[in-house]
Symmetry: C2
Subunit: 268 residues, 2 copies
C-alpha cells in the first residue's frame, strides 16, 4: 500500500487507528478454545467488528511464534482474513539483522506472510534496515523512541554531539530511505520529545503505541500530525479485550468506534 | 545447559566453535531438493559430520522464517536432530520487544523450540531483556558490538559520558543478569574495542561472529578469553558451504576440524 493510498483510507474512514492483534490464547473469552482455532475465531470476529473504524491491523508476531508451527499457520490465516485494500497490515516483528539475513526477514513479511509493513530495530544500523527498503508499497517501520521504561537505558542517552541516541538513530536511518518506504515507532508516552522527532523526520508516518493502557493521551499527538495525518495510533488490549465475555467483538467495536470518533475530531 | 556444562564440553572437545546453520535452499548442492526437505537433509549431514569438532550450533532464524510454516517445522526438526548434551543450541533470532511480548519470545525459543539460548537486541533496554533471564540453563545473548558496517551508525557513537553506545549497552544490560544467564555478541572484526568490552563484561561468555568470510582473525581473539575460555566463535558459510558438491558434509568436517585444531592451540 503506497502512502497516497494509506492517506486516502485515513480520509475515507476518518480514522488513523491501528488495532493490535496481540491475541493471547489465555485471555480468550471462555466460550472459545484456548488454542490456535480459538485465536483464529477471535481474530476473525475482532477484524469484522472493527474494520469500519480502523485503517490498520498490527500483528504482534511473538504471540504467534510462541505457539510454534501452529502459530505460523494461524498468522498466515489471520493475515489472509484482512481485506488488503481496506487495512494496512503491519507485522510487529521488530526484526534486526544484517545483509542477507535481513533480506530473509523482508521475504518472510513482505512475501511469505504478505504484510504491508514490518517493524525493524535500528541498533545494527544501515545494513540491518536497507534490505527492507525500496519494495514498492512495502514499509519498514523502524523503532525510534519507544514507550517502555527501558527506553531510558539506551534510546534516551545523550550523545557527545548533544543529540539523544533515538534522535540520531531516526536522523541517520531516515537518510537511507524516504517517507514513502520508511516510518518510525514513537511512543505516545514521550510527548516532551515530539518536537525533536518531527525535526529529524518532518514528514514520515509514525506508528504510535502507548495510548490507553500505557497512559499516553490521544490529544497530545496533535503536534505530530502532518498534512496527510502522518500518524497511526495503535491500541491493542483496550480494544481486543474490551470485554472478556461472549460480547467481546461488540465491545471491541464500541471501543474502536469511540477512538475513531475522537480521531475524526482531530482531523478537522 | 549451565555454564559449567558448557565449559566442560569445550574442554572435552578442545573446541569453542559454533557452526552457523544459515541454510539457504538456493545454495544447496544440486543433488538436494531446494525446499524444506532438502534443507533438512543438508542440516542432518552437516550436524553429523561436524559434531565432534563443535560445541554449539547457531540457527539463523530468518532463513527458516522466510519459508513460512514449512520453515518452522524444519526449524523444529533441525533442533531435535542436535544432541542437546553435546552442543549448545542458539536461536539467532535477535528478538527485542517489551514485557509480555518478550516473554512470548522467550517461550518460543526456550520452550516451543527448545534452544539453550536466544540472541536479543538491547535497543529497548531493561524490559526487553529481563524476560529472557533467570531461566535455569537458558541464556540471553545480547548484541553488544556487531561485525557489520552499520555498527558505526549507533553502536559506535560516543556518549556524553565518553563511553560508546555499545559499551554502555553492555554495562547496563550486564547489571540485569549475571554471567550465568547472559552472554554478549561481539564481532571479531572489532579488535580495537576488545579491551573496553572485557572491562564492562569481564567474565561473560561472548558469541563472536565475523571470523572467516567477514575478515576477523581467530588469533586476535586471545585477549577475550577467560579461565573457562569464555568465547564461542561462530563460522557459518565457510563451513557449511565448504563444498557445493556431493562431498559437502565431508568438506564441512574438514573445515570444522581445521578450526577445532586452531582453537585447541589457543586453549593451551
Amino acid at each position: 500500500m503506497k502512502r497516497a493510498e494509506l492517506a486516502a483510507l485515513i480520509q475515507q474512514k476518518q480514522s488513523f487507528l491501528c488495532v493490535g492483534l496481540d491475541t493471547d490464547p489465555n485471555k480468550l473469552p471462555s466460550h472459545l478454545s484456548k488454542d490456535a482455532a480459538g485465536v483464529l475465531a477471535f481474530n476473525k470476529a475482532i477484524i469484522e467488528s472493527t474494520l469500519p473504524f480502523t485503517v490498520s491491523y498490527k500483528l504482534n508476531i511473538a504471540f504467534y511464534e510462541a505457539m510454534g508451527t501452529a502459530g505460523w499457520e494461524l498468522l498466515e490465516e489471520t493475515i489472509n482474513m484482512i481485506p488488503r485494500d481496506q487495512a494496512f497490515i503491519i507485522a510487529d516483528a521488530k526484526r534486526g539483522d544484517i545483509g542477507n539475513t535481513a533480506a530473509r526477514y523482508a521475504e518472510a513479511f513482505f512475501t511469505t506472510f504478505p504484510c504491508h509493513a514490518v517493524t525493524v530495530n535500528p541498533y545494527m544500523g544501515e545494513d540491518s534496515v536497507t534490505p527492507f527498503l525500496g519494495h514498492e508499497g512495502k514499509w519498514a517501520i523502524v523503532l525510534g523512541l519507544t514507550s517502555n521504561k527501558g527506553a531510558n537505558d539506551i534510546e534516551l542517552l545523550r550523545l557527545e554531539n548533544g543529540k539523544f541516541v533515538f534522535e540520531q538513530a531516526i536522523e541517520t536511518i531516515a537518510g537511507y530511505g524516504s517517507d514513502q518506504d520508511l516510518m518510525f515507532v514513537v511512543g505516545a508516552t514521550q510527548p516532551e520529545y515530539f518536537e525533536r522527532i518531527r525535526k529529524v523526520a518532518p514528514n514520515h508516518f509514525l506508528l504510535i503505541p502507548g495510548v490507553g493502557a500505557q497512559g499516553g493521551q490521544l490529544e497530545d499527538l496533535q503536534p505530530l500530525m502532518t498534512q496527510d495525518v502522518g500518524v497511526l495510533v495503535n491500541s491493542s488490549r483496550k480494544i481486543i479485550y474490551a470485554s472478556s465475555g461472549e460480547d467481546f467483538a461488540e465491545a471491541a467495536r464500541v471501543e474502536a468506534a469511540r477512538m475513531q470518533k475522537a480521531m475524526a475530531g482531530m482531523m478537522d
